[in-house]
C-alpha cells in the first residue's frame, strides 16, 4: 500500500490535525506527505515522528488555491503510485479533497473517524454527528478525509526524508487581496478545551466570567446561535448545526438550554459539562457532568478552583 497524505503548512507550522492525518495514513501503509509553502526542512522531517517516511514539498505554491493544490496532489499521487490519499477534513480538506476525488475518479469518504475496517469500509460522521455511516469506496484509488480530533497521535521517533517536489500547477484560480487574521490565540475548530455560553448570560457585558474561565483553562470561547445572531458575540464563535462543529476534549456550556441544533455541533466533544439554572434543560441529557446552578455564581467559583489546580501542577 502506498499512502499519500496532504497537509497544509502555510502558516509555517504543523497543526495537530495534520499530525493526526499523517499517523492515520501510516497505519494504512507506507506514507509520503505532500505539502507546500516556505516551511523549514527540519520541521518537516519531524513528520517522521508521526510515521511518515518521505515528505514532498513544493516551494512555488504559497496560497490555498484549491485547483493548484489539486494539481500538486495529483502529480505527487502519480509519482508515488498512491492507492490511498488522506486529508484532514479541515477547511483545506473540504476545499481540495473533492476536487482530487473528481480529478482521479477516486471515491471520497469524508468525515472519517476511524481506520478502515477489515472489509475496507470507513466509518464516517453523518446526520451532523447524530449517527455514523460505513462507506465502501468502490474505486481503485481511495480518498479519505479524516475528522480532526477523532484519532489520537502517538509520536514515535522517526525522521522523514524531505525532497523538493515540482509540479505543473497551472493558472491560479484567484488573486488574494487581503488576509484578515482572527483575534485571539486559540482557534475554536482546533481547540481541545472550549468554554461556551448562551442567552443565560443576559448580556455581552457579562462575558468576563466566561473569558476568565477560558483563560484559566487555556480554552477557546464559543457561544450559542441566538447570542451570535443578536450580536453579543462574533459569528465565528457560534457552535451548532449551522455554525462551527467542534470536537474538543472538554466542552463547558453555561446558560445554554441545549436545543438539538446546538447539540449537533458539540456532540463530538469527549466530555460535556452543563451549567444551567433549569434542571429540566435538555442539555443535561447530553452532559457527562451537570451543575444545576446560576452561571454568575458557578463560573467564578470554577475558575478559582481551576487556578488552584494549575498552581499545584
Amino acid at each position: 500500500m502506498s499512502v499519500l497524505v496532504y497537509i497544509n503548512t502555510l502558516n509555517g507550522k504543523i497543526a495537530k490535525n495534520a499530525m493526526e492525518a499523517v499517523q492515520y495514513g501510516s497505519k494504512i501503509g507506507a506514507t509520503t506527505v505532500v505539502t507546500n509553502g516556505a516551511i523549514g526542512e527540519s520541521e518537516l522531517a519531524t513528520l517522521g515522528n508521526a510515521g511518515a517516511s518521505k515528505v514532498l514539498v513544493n516551494r512555488v505554491l504559497t496560497s490555498n488555491d484549491p485547483a493548484q493544490t489539486t494539481r500538486l496532489i495529483k502529480a505527487a499521487a502519480e509519482s508515488v503510485s498512491a492507492n490511498t490519499i488522506v486529508f484532514s477534513q479541515d477547511i483545506t480538506g473540504k476545499a481540495v479533497a473533492p476536487r482530487v476525488s473528481a480529478a482521479l475518479k477516486a471515491g471520497l469518504a469524508s468525515g472519517a473517524i476511524a481506520l478502515p475496517d477489515a472489509d475496507g469500509t470507513v466509518k464516517v460522521n453523518v446526520f451532523s454527528g447524530k449517527a455514523f455511516g460505513k462507506v465502501k469506496i468502490n474505486s481503485a484509488i481511495k480518498v479519505i478525509a479524516l475528522t480532526p480530533n477523532s484519532v489520537g497521535v502517538e509520536e514515535e521517533s522517526g525522521v522523514a526524508s524531505v525532497e523538493e517536489f515540482s509540479a505543473d500547477l497551472g493558472n491560479a484560480s484567484y488573486t488574494v487581496k487581503e488576509v484578515k487574521k482572527q483575534e485571539g490565540d486559540i482557534l475554536l475548530p482546533e481547540a481541545e478545551l472550549v468554554v461556551s455560553a448562551g442567552r443565560g448570560l443576559k448580556g455581552p457585558e457579562n462575558w468576563g466570567i466566561v473569558e476568565d474561565l477560558a483563560e484559566s483553562l487555556g480554552a477557546a470561547t464559543a457561544c450559542s446561535r441566538p447570542v451570535a445572531d443578536i450580536g453579543w458575540r462574533p459569528h465565528h464563535e457560534h457552535v451548532g448545526q449551522t455554525g462551527v462543529a467542534i470536537r474538543p476534549n472538554l466542552y463547558i456550556a453555561a446558560g445554554i438550554s441545549g436545543a438539538i441544533q446546538h447539540l449537533a455541533g458539540v456532540n463530538g466533544s469527549k466530555v460535556i459539562v452543563v451549567i444551567n439554572t433549569d434542571p429540566e434543560a435538555p442539555f443535561f441529557k447530553a452532559a457527562d457532568y451537570g451543575i444545576v446552578g446560576d452561571a454568575f455564581e458557578v463560573l467564578p467559583k470554577l475558575t478559582a478552583e481551576i487556578q488552584k489546580l494549575k498552581a499545584q501542577n
Binding site: K94, S110, K134, N138, Q182
Partner: protein
C-alpha cells in the same frame, strides 16, 4: 448574470434519526424533509440578492425523484425563477456532481452556488467536484460574495481568519454562514411557485464511486453526574482525575 443554485433535501433539523432494513436505510417514516439549510439560507438567498442587484436569472437544480418536488417548490417560492430536477435517486456525491456538471456544461452559468454541506451527509463534496468536472475555480466556504460586473470579491473562511480573493466568472462557490440571511416565502411567492417551470431531465450515465453499506447510532450517553454548585472543587477533581481532560 446566470446563476445555478444546487438544492438538496434534508431531514428537518429536529428529526429523530433512526435506521431500518438491518441498519442499511434511513428511517423516513414521520420525517419531514426541508431544503438543506445551507442551500436555502445561504446559497439560494445570496443568489437572489445578486440577481436583484445585477439582473439575470436564478435556476435551481436538484438530483432526485418526484418526492423532491415539494422542496423544489419551496425554493421557487423563496424566489428562484425556474427549477431543474435530474430524475434519479441521488447516488453518491460524485454521481450528483456529475449530473449537475453535465447540465451546467450545456447551459453555461456564470456562477454555480452550493451550500457548504448537507446536514444529513456533511460531506462538503459536491461543490468541489462540480468545479473539477467543469475545470473552473472553486471557492470553498465563502462567507461574503460581492459582484462588480463579471468580477467577484469573496471572503473565504481560512484556518485562523478570513482570506479576501478576487476572480472573474465563471466559478463554483460553496456558501457558509454569513453569506445571507434566511428569507421566509410570502403568500405571493408561494402562489407564483406553483406555475414556475420545473423541468425534469433524465440522468446521464455515471457510476457512483462510494456506497453507504450500513449506519449506526452513537452509543447511549451514560447518565449525567450532578455536582453541587457550591462544590466546584469536586468538579475540578472529576475533570482532572476521572475524565482526565484537564
Amino acid at each position: 448574470m446566470k446563476l445555478l443554485v444546487c438544492i438538496s433535501k434534508a431531514p428537518d433539523t429536529t428529526s429523530k434519526i433512526e435506521f431500518t432494513d438491518n441498519d442499511t436505510k434511513f428511517n423516513e417514516s414521520g420525517v419531514q424533509y426541508i431544503v438543506n439549510p445551507y442551500d436555502e439560507w445561504y446559497a439560494l438567498v445570496r443568489a437572489l440578492e445578486l440577481k436583484e442587484q445585477n439582473g439575470g436569472s436564478v435556476t435551481t437544480i436538484t438530483v432526485g425523484t418526484a418526492t423532491d418536488d415539494s422542496i423544489i417548490r419551496k425554493a421557487l417560492a423563496i424566489g428562484a425563477d425556474n427549477a431543474v430536477r435530474i430524475d434519479s435517486e441521488a447516488g453518491d456525491a460524485y454521481y450528483t456532481a456529475f449530473q449537475i456538471a453535465e447540465y451546467a456544461k450545456s447551459n453555461g452559468f456564470d456562477i454555480v452556488i452550493t451550500g457548504k454541506e448537507t446536514i444529513n451527509y456533511n460531506g462538503s463534496q459536491v461543490g468541489g467536484m462540480i468545479a473539477e468536472l467543469l475545470d473552473q475555480p472553486f471557492i470553498s466556504l465563502a462567507t461574503n460574495l460581492e459582484m462588480d460586473g463579471t468580477t467577484a470579491t469573496i471572503n473565504i473562511e481560512m484556518v485562523g481568519g478570513v482570506e479576501v480573493v478576487e476572480l472573474d466568472t465563471p466559478f463554483v462557490v460553496s456558501a457558509a454562514k454569513g453569506m445571507a440571511e434566511q428569507r421566509i416565502p410570502n403568500m405571493r411567492g408561494i402562489m407564483a411557485a406553483r406555475t414556475k417551470p420545473l423541468e425534469v431531465l433524465p440522468a446521464a450515465p455515471c457510476d457512483a464511486l462510494v456506497s453507504f453499506e450500513a449506519y449506526e447510532l452513537p452509543p447511549a450517553k451514560s447518565d449525567c453526574k450532578y455536582v453541587d454548585p457550591e462544590n466546584m472543587a469536586e468538579l475540578v477533581d472529576l475533570l482532572h482525575n476521572e475524565a482526565k481532560v484537564i
